[in-house]
Subunit: 132 residues, 2 copies
DNA sequence: CTTTTTGCAAACCCTTTGCAAGACA
DNA sequence: TGTCTTGCAAAGGGTTTGCAAAAAG
């Protein structure tokens, strides 16, 4: 069950790092497809999944939307623009004690939390201001 | 664009309040379907959506899973059991200042945040303890 | 009588899966 | 060689939508 180094795997990982900005699996697929039309969609989904399971990349689960993949792996939060859908990093300190507090409040054994912000990105704020 | 009071609407809302425990739209549909086989799935999805848009019920977006609906409408957080999938309330104080902090950190105009916990519910903890 | 809502089925998005062929170690 | 991975197409879960008929105001 060891991971093999295939051509596809490194192409996909490279493309994710090139795109940099939290692409969906499908966006990675589209980008890869331009140069390598033979690489299938399923391979991209499978490979991104494996890479994130192995901790080599991050997976950002978005409420009500496709998962996004992150070339960075350290813990941080994300914000999604409700106008254009883009997703950006939110560089604020990770909540240290909420898991413990939530555990006491719920009786659950907490393994993780995810905090997602929704809002309007700077570009869309501009657009709204000039349109109005 | 005013909301009309239809039979289906009140049946669906009543059923949600009876179920109480964060059902998915499909679970509400199944429950409604028992007594009212003529009510269609699309009606349940549409009605729950409208009710939550109107603020009469809550919608809980679950990472990587079907949306759930909540008969309670005040702001609170949720935890999902990674074993059995159940979703419970987490009655901890709502984070008051994170939106502002996130706005400063990201340049976004933040409209909301959602915090979801993942963990193991008391029942599954039992099961794991006795099985191991 | 006008507008919303319903029920149905089909479409939709995102993702996973079965399988035979191909690539890695 | 033995096992993992690929590519394809089909299936899957969750949800939305087009449309004509029915119901609300």
């Amino acid at each position: 069950m060891t991971s093999r180094n295939t051509v596809q795997r490194s192409i996909i990982e490279d493309e994710l790092r090139r795109l940099a900005n939290h692409p969906t699996a499908d966006e990675v697929y589209e980008a890869v497809h331009v140069e390598h039309p033979s690489i299938g969609r399923a391979t991209v989904y499978r490979t991104l999944g494996k890479l994130s399971d192995e901790g080599k990349i991050g997976r950002v689960r978005i409420n009500n939307g496709a998962d996004r993949f992150d070339h960075q792996t350290f813990a941080h939060y994300h914000v999604r623009c409700t106008c254009c859908g883009r997703v950006d990093d939110v560089m604020i300190p990770v909540l240290g004690d909420v898991d413990e507090v939530a555990a006491r409040a719920s009786g659950y054994q907490i393994t993780s939390h995810s905090l997602q912000f929704d809002g309007i990105c700077p570009a869309c704020q501009e657009d709204l201001a000039t349109t109005a």
